[in-house]
């Protein structure tokens, strides 16, 4: 079948016009993946095209790139599925990472962030007999986290990293959860306190779900981040705006059956945190001008009682 790839090219050695879209038209087998097509280009049409790949079987995580705007492992993406009627495919490098050449991005920030979470087991005792034995059950619980192949697709699509590259990001946080929930590791509270960092820590995730959407291995990084947040609260590591935000959410819904936005803003910032509160003033003023300022005395939901009962039932269950 015939396929047309529009590949975004970048050549840092060209003095000008170093970014362009190049079209390649070729005949490929019906079962070909996008990677097969790109390799065809590189081997038979244009040796100057640079791309990364290794295993071709979605286990090494090397060939992450954007196809029609969405990050994918191209070895796991069949041409026919995206282009059943010969539609052109747009191939671009992954997002949120600097491009080195063509489809190859610089992964050094990705791995620096991985390193930041100390991605190795840290027991604080010697094993009783030669080695630490982890039960089958405990390892099975970690299968999702351990599935990560560090391809970077979640980082490419993270909407927080797009505006704030200090965020540690979905991949490193998912990796952190793999160690937090490993029974052989004894640094749980140190790890969680570290991830609690206000600058770029786990509370910066906005739960947009992009990482869950694009992860080719079902790791669901956002869910792993939510697990970590819950565990941090459980062990009492509560000195974060994130915790206050969550807590205020719960309090206001339990009390009124709906969200009290004024209180949420104040309590998330911390009512004694003058600087943070001053930050809120312009937002408040803008909201006031446009008639969007939430009421100071919160509305109550009609079926408030039922919500209180529900909240009570949940508390008892816990």
């Amino acid at each position: 079948m015939e396929v047309t790839l529009n590949v975004k090219r970048f050549d840092p050695e060209k003095p000008k016009n170093n970014t362009w879209i190049q079209e390649y038209v070729m005949d490929i087998h019906q079962s070909s993946t996008v990677l097969d097509a790109l390799i065809h280009v590189r081997e038979e049409m244009d040796g100057t095209l640079a791309l990364r790949c290794a295993c071709r079987a979605s286990i090494c995580g090397s060939c992450g790139m954007k196809v029609n705007g969405e990050a994918k492992l191209v070895c796991k993406t069949r041409v026919e599925e995206l282009s059943p009627n010969g539609e052109k495919l747009l191939i671009e490098p992954m997002g949120n990472q600097p491009v080195i050449k063509d489809l190859i991005v610089d992964l050094s920030a990705f791995f620096a962030k991985m390193e930041q979470i100390s991605p190795f087991l840290q027991p604080n005792k010697e094993p009783e007999s030669g080695e630490f034995i982890a039960s089958n059950d405990s390892m099975e619980k970690l299968l999702t986290e351990m599935n990560c192949i560090m391809c970077g697709l979640c980082v490419s699509e993270c909407t927080v990293l797009e505006v704030d590259n200090t965020f540690i990001g979905p991949a490193a946080l998912a990796k952190a959860s793999r160690f937090v929930y490993d029974p052989r590791d004894d640094k749980t509270s140190e790890r969680l306190n570290c991830l609690n960092d206000e600058a770029g820590g786990m509370w910066d995730c906005t739960r947009c779900m992009q990482c869950v959407e694009v992860c080719p291995k079902g790791v669901s990084p956002m869910d792993r981040i939510m697990d970590l947040r819950e565990t941090a609260i459980e062990i009492g590591a509560k000195k974060t705006h994130g915790y206050h935000h969550t807590n205020s959410f719960e309090k206001s819904v339990t009390a009124n059956g709906r969200l009290d936005e004024s209180r949420l803003a104040l309590e998330s910032a911390g009512i004694f945190n003058i600087f943070r509160l001053l930050d809120l003033v312009p937002v408040g003023l803008r909201a006031l001008i446009r008639g969007k300022l939430p009421p100071f005395i919160p509305h109550k939901a009609k079926d408030n009682k039922k919500i209180k009962e529900l909240a009570k039932a949940i508390k008892e269950k816990e």
Binding site: D11, E13, E43, G47, T48, I104
Partner: protein, 236 residues
């Protein structure tokens, strides 16, 4: 997807041979250590079983690293005259970039790969292996005289990288054909259709392939040292 045929064929999974090392990753060259799939500690025999390549990384990777580190500490910290080596390598790269042949590296490589799969793939016999050997010989000449690369750049030049890789691939392919042709029996993954049986009387041997400076191949077949574990046939 499930209703359409899925193309399937055998693929290379693991290299059982490699640079000969002892249990500490030491090769025959002082100061050169090898570990992982490039090395051969001779723990796998003629058929590496599932999950056993972990030994190469977890056990022998660690041992080689420790030994290499000890070695570095034991030798005097001298200035090594690297200039001539750097110049040699730069010239090699320049020669590839300036080469004016008419064959793409991928074309030359795929031709050799096809012959290796056909001649020395899952099943082999004398004739098929000799065919593979003859193609490898031709590939050497094509690589020397007729390749060209399109990418002349200095950033992430995979065109150049694959040319350099092909040179090493030819070395590996050459060792594989010589090793396979030497072994007059079937054992593990070396499955000959013309000599099907395993022959412990004559072939409890390693095959060592050396390449001399002038390109001449030397083959040795030292005996396997068997201590605690007797070799047995895989029956599952």
């Amino acid at each position: 997807m499930s209703e359409k045929p899925v193309p399937i064929r055998p693929g290379m999974h693991y290299i059982m041979g490699g640079i000969k090392t002892d249990v500490n990753g030491e090769t025959g060259v002082p100061g050169l250590y090898a570990a992982g799939e490039c090395a051969n500690v001779s723990v796998h025999g003629a058929n590496r079983l599932g999950a056993n390549s972990l030994l190469d990384t977890v056990v022998f990777g660690r041992r080689s690293a420790e030994k290499a580190s000890d070695y570095v500490k034991s030798v005097p910290n001298e200035d090594i005259p690297t200039k001539s080596y750097v110049e040699r390598d730069l010239k090699k790269i320049k020669d590839i970039i300036d080469s004016e042949g008419n064959l793409r590296v991928s074309e030359v490589r795929n031709e050799m790969a096809k012959a290796m799969t056909e001649g020395i793939g899952v099943f082999r016999d004398q004739k098929s292996m000799e065919y593979a050997k003859s193609v490898v010989e031709k590939t050497k000449i094509k690589y020397r005289d007729s390749i060209k690369i399109q990418n002349k750049g200095k950033v992430y030049n995979t065109d150049l990288l694959f040319a350099l890789e092909l040179e090493n691939m030819i070395d590996c392919a050459e060792s594989i054909v010589h090793g396979a042709l030497t072994r007059k029996e079937s054992r593990g993954a070396h499955f000959r259709t013309d000599i099907t049986g395993r022959n412990d009387n004559d072939w409890l041997k390693h095959t060592l392939i050396y390449k001399k400076e002038d390109g001449e191949i030397k083959i040795e077949t030292p005996d396997v040292t068997i201590t605690q574990w007797q070799p047995v046939e895989r029956v599952y």
